[in-house]
């Protein structure tokens, strides 16, 4: 059996699957939420966590280097 045959037979039987849809309230809620972001780009909040982690790790490294210099000096 070829790939086209498999695809055709799957399409044939899939037509019998019951239809599934969201309820209209949930659909409208999702659409409204996403619509607000159209063309805005990703939220700046996504950069907040890595920025905080970078500052904390950087501060710790500076502190550790200063301590090593202090111990050697």
């Amino acid at each position: 059996m070829t790939t086209d045959d498999d695809a055709a037979k799957l399409a044939e039987i899939s037509r019998e699957l019951p239809a599934i849809d969201l309820d209209s309230i949930s659909a409208e809620r999702i659409a409204m939420r996403a619509r607000q972001d159209v063309g805005r780009g990703p939220s700046p909040r996504r950069f907040l966590e890595p920025a905080i982690a970078t500052v904390l790790v950087g501060s710790y490294l500076v502190w550790a280097v200063l301590k090593i210099v202090e111990a050697l000096g």
Binding site: I20, R35, G39, R40
Partner: protein
């Protein structure tokens, strides 16, 4: 690419909310159906659907002019399903429970409750019993009507791998359906 879709992509690239509404209306049922049948949970499918359309909204201005929205959205939905599955497995392991691939099928799932007849119920159960990798290919090709080569791009596999999964999915469905299989499936 259809004219409608080209206009929607142009609209999205301009940040037009009406274009987004048109895309949402055209694709929400398809994506939701795919996500429900993959996660087998309506709440999870709803969350992933929202995330997929949020990604589209946030990515709108960076879409290429020749973007095929269906393929783009199903690619995002597929990646979200993969992440969701991993998160579920980690959660199950942290809870000291071995991850189970599928919920028990002794009772009717919300998805199965939609079935109007024994044949539909048998079909829904047969799809649910497929391994996720086969089910995904069967849904994208059979229900969504995507070409196997397009599905290969969406899932990030070779066309040959998709062809194999398609053949195995069909064979397993035929076996699971038994007497409920269409007559054309039962003839050699």
């Amino acid at each position: 690419m259809e004219a409608d879709e080209r206009a929607w992509v142009d609209g999205l690239r301009r940040g037009d909310a009406q274009a987004f509404d048109a895309v949402f209306a055209a694709y929400r049922r398809r994506l939701y159906g795919y996500l429900v049948r993959m996660t087998r949970r309506k709440d999870a499918a709803e969350d992933l659907l929202q995330e997929a359309f949020l990604r589209l909204a946030q990515h709108a201005r960076r879409l290429e002019a020749d973007t095929r929205l269906g393929a783009w959205l199903f690619t995002v939905a597929h990646r979200m399903f993969v992440s969701w599955t991993r998160a579920q497995q980690v959660r199950a392991q942290l809870a000291g429970d071995l991850p189970t691939s599928e919920p028990a099928s002794s009772t009717r799932s919300p998805l199965e409750a939609l079935a109007d007849s024994q044949a539909q119920l048998a079909l829904e159960r047969a799809f649910a019993a497929l391994p996720p990798a086969y089910r995904e290919v069967a849904l994208l090709v059979g229900v969504e009507g995507l070409a196997p080569t397009e599905v290969a791009e969406i899932l990030g596999h070779t066309p040959e791998a998709i062809r194999q999964r398609l053949a195995r999915a069909r064979a397993q469905l035929a076996e699971a359906l038994g007497e409920h299989a269409p007559a054309s499936w039962r003839t050699p």
